[in-house]
């Protein structure tokens, strides 16, 4: 391990700004320099990306059957089920 301008405890707080592209060029350079030499922080970023990916890929559960049926009925009729 080589010491760098950004410490691991700082990198984890900058990770979102980095992924959102909102770091200035100096901070960006320091962060990427750290990532290049720190396998643990690379693992950390991989974990972040994995959890973001899972959240986007996993379907949410279906609506309750009664609500689903009522809204499908409303769609068929083109009006709301309770007349509103």
């Amino acid at each position: 391990m080589i010491r760098s301008a950004v410490r691991c405890s700082e990198l984890v707080e900058l990770a979102t700004d980095w992924m959102e592209g909102s770091l200035d060029s100096v901070a960006l350079g320091q962060l990427e320099e750290h990532l290049a030499v720190c396998p643990h922080c690379r693992s950390y970023v991989t974990q972040l990306r994995t959890s973001i990916g899972l959240l986007g890929e996993t379907p949410r559960e279906a609506p309750p059957a009664s609500a689903r049926a009522a809204l499908l009925q409303a769609f068929r009729e083109g009006v709301s089920p309770d007349g509103r």
């Binding site: 405890s9 979102t16 950390y44 974990q47 994995t50 959890s51 609500a67």
Partner: protein, 212 residues
Amino acid sequence: MLEVDGSGDRELIDRLRRGDESAFASLLDRYYQSMMHVARGYVASKEAAEDVVQDTFLGVITGIGRFEGRSSLKTWMFRILVNRAQTRGEREGRIRPFSSVSDGRDEPAVDPARFEGSGRWAGYWSTPPTADLLPESGVLAAELGTRLLAAIEVLPEAQRTVLELRDVLGFSSHEVCDLLEISEVNQRVLLHRARSKARAMLETYVDDGRDR
């Protein structure tokens, strides 16, 4: 899964206007629960959120003929949702959510005990994250994803809402700021806290799984 963004929108909107029930069912299945999660940020009870989500889909049914497609269908639907949830929340006398990001601003992304506390390597990992976290099989990924979706329920409301919109639903930061009427900076703070915690939850599941 039916694509409800960009180029897929036109076809889906046409199907909805023609009364294609399977198109409407796909919207229900894809968005109902996410809408419930977002609505819960504005109203007092699960029942109130159900009313808001039902009203939103009724609004979609009556409004789809006039929808001009200037935004994506998804953005339009969630705009309807947030408007209705806000109205309901105000009627309930609730303070506007997301007016502050004080929940969790000072929480560290990672437990400070996992870094060296002093010496030459202060601030460097003492208990680093596991390298091979990536689920290898689809089944495991699906199980982890389901557990993660359930786990983010416990996040503070504003963080949960931003995470739902950004990472579960795939809205851009700009769209989320618009929908929730928050600044880019606040959006990023909330996203950061939420993503950091989601990562920690995932790490716990995977490490627990290894120990068993």
